[in-house]
């Protein structure tokens, strides 16, 4: 029943979740990242061995752990949006808090991963891979930071007497974008051969 | 609003102006200015022989380098009093004045570094010398923008009693035009447009000095006018009370 109350009633035309301007950002961001990915894959195809050598120095296990943390935080935020729509504000706030906590955990693990790579120094011959690694993960962490800021704003909105569900939805849309971008980055940096 | 602070900023102009002139008088590279056609050895020898004089001037300029900024900000405050529909020109003026000041600071640093180690490779001394002269003479775009913004502000001043008289606007445009040749010291190393030339250097520096002097007096009148008006308003309020 809680789940049902969360489902948005839709007409034939459907409805845009969150604000339109946020979708402008989300879709645009995907395309900009596509340009980054294209460069990466192109360069990688030029000298696959050196990229594979660099890739082997990453810990795939850490990558999986981070992926699952972000997926979980996305779930919490999505549930938070449903709760907010059902005017179950306390629950919504708790879900958003959990989602944000997962985001912070993600950043901590990332910081640890970065520091091990920096302490080890990027081994010779794999600089290009590590340049991409630091740029992609760095840009992504920047998106996570902005996402955490947005979650704080959503959390504050949920303390108001009458929070706007639209605002919560918009914040959620951004947060899920961060998740989707990570899925692509994870595949390209950690797994692709 | 009190006009005392503005008066203080205004009177910093003669104070710093005298110090500037003093510094220039001590500076050995000014009469005549070092030529851009001098070779590395020649320039290095000049800096080796004049360490004391250059240091004195440039340390002084290091301290007072942007001493006219408070004065320019008084002009910004006066521009904000103008009967303009918005403060667009005042903000533009502020921004241009701030950017322009950095270049002089850069020139000063280059000169100080040129004499910091007089036995340096002559090529490097030459480089610092060139950087200093270019940064001093050529970035006229900022002061030109300041003058144009001020002039446009004055032309559009809709107050019954304008903050600055109209001739100040004409004067600003003329001085802006007179400083244009300075930019071309980047292109020419000889003739009137070189950085030691009559147009790029003599005319540009002379115009700037004249400009500051004239603006000192007209700004003083503008501040006085503001004080008078505000006293008038104050008296009026007293009368009402």
């Amino acid at each position: 029943m809680a789940a049902d109350s969360g489902v948005v009633p839709t007409g034939r035309a459907g409805r845009v979740p969150g604000e339109g301007s946020m979708w402008f950002f989300v879709l645009g961001d995907f395309w900009i990242f596509s340009c980054y990915f294209a460069c990466y894959v192109h360069d990688r195809a030029q000298s696959p061995e050196s990229y594979l050598a660099g890739q082997q120095l990453l810990s795939q296990g850490t990558g999986v752990l981070n992926t699952i943390i972000l997926l979980t935080s996305s779930l919490f935020v999505a549930l938070g949006v449903q709760a907010a729509r059902a005017s179950d504000i306390d629950v919504a706030r708790r879900f958003v808090t959990l989602g944000g906590a997962c985001g912070i955990l993600f950043m901590l693990i990332k910081a640890w991963e970065w520091s091990t790579k920096i302490i080890a120094g990027f081994p010779a011959g794999t600089e290009d891979f590590f340049l991409y690694y630091f740029m992609f993960t760095g840009l992504h962490v920047l998106h996570v930071c902005l996402g955490l800021l947005i979650l704080v704003l959503v959390w504050r909105e949920l303390r108001k007497d009458r929070p706007r569900p639209m605002f919560v939805e918009t914040g959620g849309t951004y947060w899920h974008m961060v998740d989707a971008l990570w899925i692509a980055i994870f595949a390209l940096l950690y797994l692709v051969r | 609003m009190n006009t005392r602070d503005q008066s203080i900023c205004l009177w910093l102009v003669p104070f710093f102006g005298v110090l500037f002139l003093l510094g220039l008088a001590i500076f050995p590279g000014l009469f005549p200015p070092l030529s851009p056609t001098m070779g590395a050895e020649e320039v290095a020898a000049f800096y080796r022989e004049n360490v004391a004089g250059i240091r004195t001037t440039m340390i002084l300029f290091n301290v007072i380098g942007i001493g006219f900024i408070p004065f320019f900000m008084v002009i910004v405050v006066q521009m904000m009093r103008m009967g303009n529909p918005s403060r667009a020109f005042a903000y533009s003026y502020l921004s241009a004045a701030a950017s322009g000041g950095t270049l002089f600071a850069l020139a000063d640093l280059a000169w100080l570094n040129a004499v910091a180690r007089p036995d340096r490779d002559p090529q490097l001394t030459l480089l610092l010398n060139d950087l200093a002269w270019l940064s001093l003479v050529t970035p006229v775009g900022f002061i030109i923008t300041q003058n144009l913004c001020l002039a446009l502000g004055i032309y559009m001043d809709a107050r019954p009693r304008p903050v600055f008289p109209r001739w100040v606007a004409h004067f600003n445009i003329v001085t802006a035009l007179l400083m244009v040749p300075g930019a071309f010291a980047i292109v020419y190393t000889t003739g009137p447009l070189a950085w030691d030339g009559s147009l790029s250097f003599g005319l540009r520096m002379g115009t700037f000095a004249l400009y500051i002097a004239v603006m000192f007096f007209v700004t003083r009148s503008a501040i006085r006018q503001q004080a008078e008006e505000e006293r008038g308003v104050g008296l009026g309020l007293q009368a009402i009370a």
Binding site: L142 | D130, L152, I186
Partner: protein, 256 residues
């Protein structure tokens, strides 16, 4: 120069009147506004055609190529033109600050930050690198080592001056998001975030000389420039609308 700006001063459909304040109460804003396209056209002319700083020369050029580039006849003409007109960038900040001050729900701190950040940014990000190139051109007799250093210093400070512009973008984006009046549309705020991010993508120019992150690279330069040009263009469109839609009563002195 002053004349050309003046003629561009009126918006299409509005006429410059003899007593401008009464007939065209936004004349001052329009003058500042039209200085932006004027400056950027000039900017393109200088950087692409005359100085050939954009697109950047290669970071791996040989010393002989570098010396030849520095001696190109039009380089210093372009830079002289820039030294003459870079002040127009201040007018762009001026008008943007005026429109930012109309926003509701924020103090003047953000507009002032925008003004201050750009007043700083113009020198390390534009004028200083150009001077550095001009030095190389002015003195063919510099040793090749110095020419190469000037070349690196020029391109690295031109492409790699990042923080000054990220802060400008940051305060602008925050202002748009906080603004309750929607002086600028929200999507421009998001576009500004991209502009900010692409500045950050230029960070590796300081560590790599080849590939997409070098100072002439696909990501550090081309993508960043494409987004910057898009941002500047859409910024102009939004700014035009903001000035156009500003109610006359809101002006400080509307000639009445």
């Amino acid at each position: 120069m002053n004349e050309s700006v003046l003629n561009l001063g009126a918006a299409p459909g509005e006429r410059v009147a003899a007593v401008p304040v009464v007939r065209n109460p936004k004349l001052d804003q329009w003058i500042c506004y039209w200085s932006i396209p004027f400056f950027y056209v000039l900017f393109g002319l200088i950087f692409v055609l005359l100085a050939r700083i954009m697109p950047p020369q290669s970071p791996t050029s040989s010393a002989a190529d570098i010396v030849a580039y520095m001696q190109s006849p039009t380089l210093r003409w372009g830079i002289a033109l820039l030294a003459l007109t870079l002040g127009l960038a201040s007018m762009a900040s001026g008008i943007i600050v005026v429109q930012m001050q109309r926003m509701k729900g924020l103090s003047a701190a953000l507009p002032y930050s925008y003004l201050a950040a750009l007043a700083v940014a113009g020198v390390p990000g534009c004028l200083f690198p150009c001077f550095v190139f001009a030095l190389g051109g002015l003195r063919p007799e510099y040793s090749p080592e110095i020419q190469v250093m000037l070349y690196d210093l020029g391109f690295l400070s031109f492409v790699g001056s990042l923080g000054v512009f990220t802060i400008q973008y940051l305060v602008f984006a925050i202002a748009i998001f906080l603004d309750e009046r929607q002086i600028f549309p929200k999507w421009l705020g998001y576009l500004t975030i991209w502009a900010l991010v692409t500045e950050i993508v230029a960070v590796p120019v300081w560590v790599t000389r080849t590939g997409p992150f070098a100072w002439d690279g696909l990501l550090s330069f081309w993508l960043g420039t494409a987004i910057f040009v898009g941002w500047e263009f859409l910024m102009c469109v939004c700014l035009y609308r903001a000035i156009k839609n500003q109610p006359i009563e809101e002006l400080e002195h509307h000639g009445g």
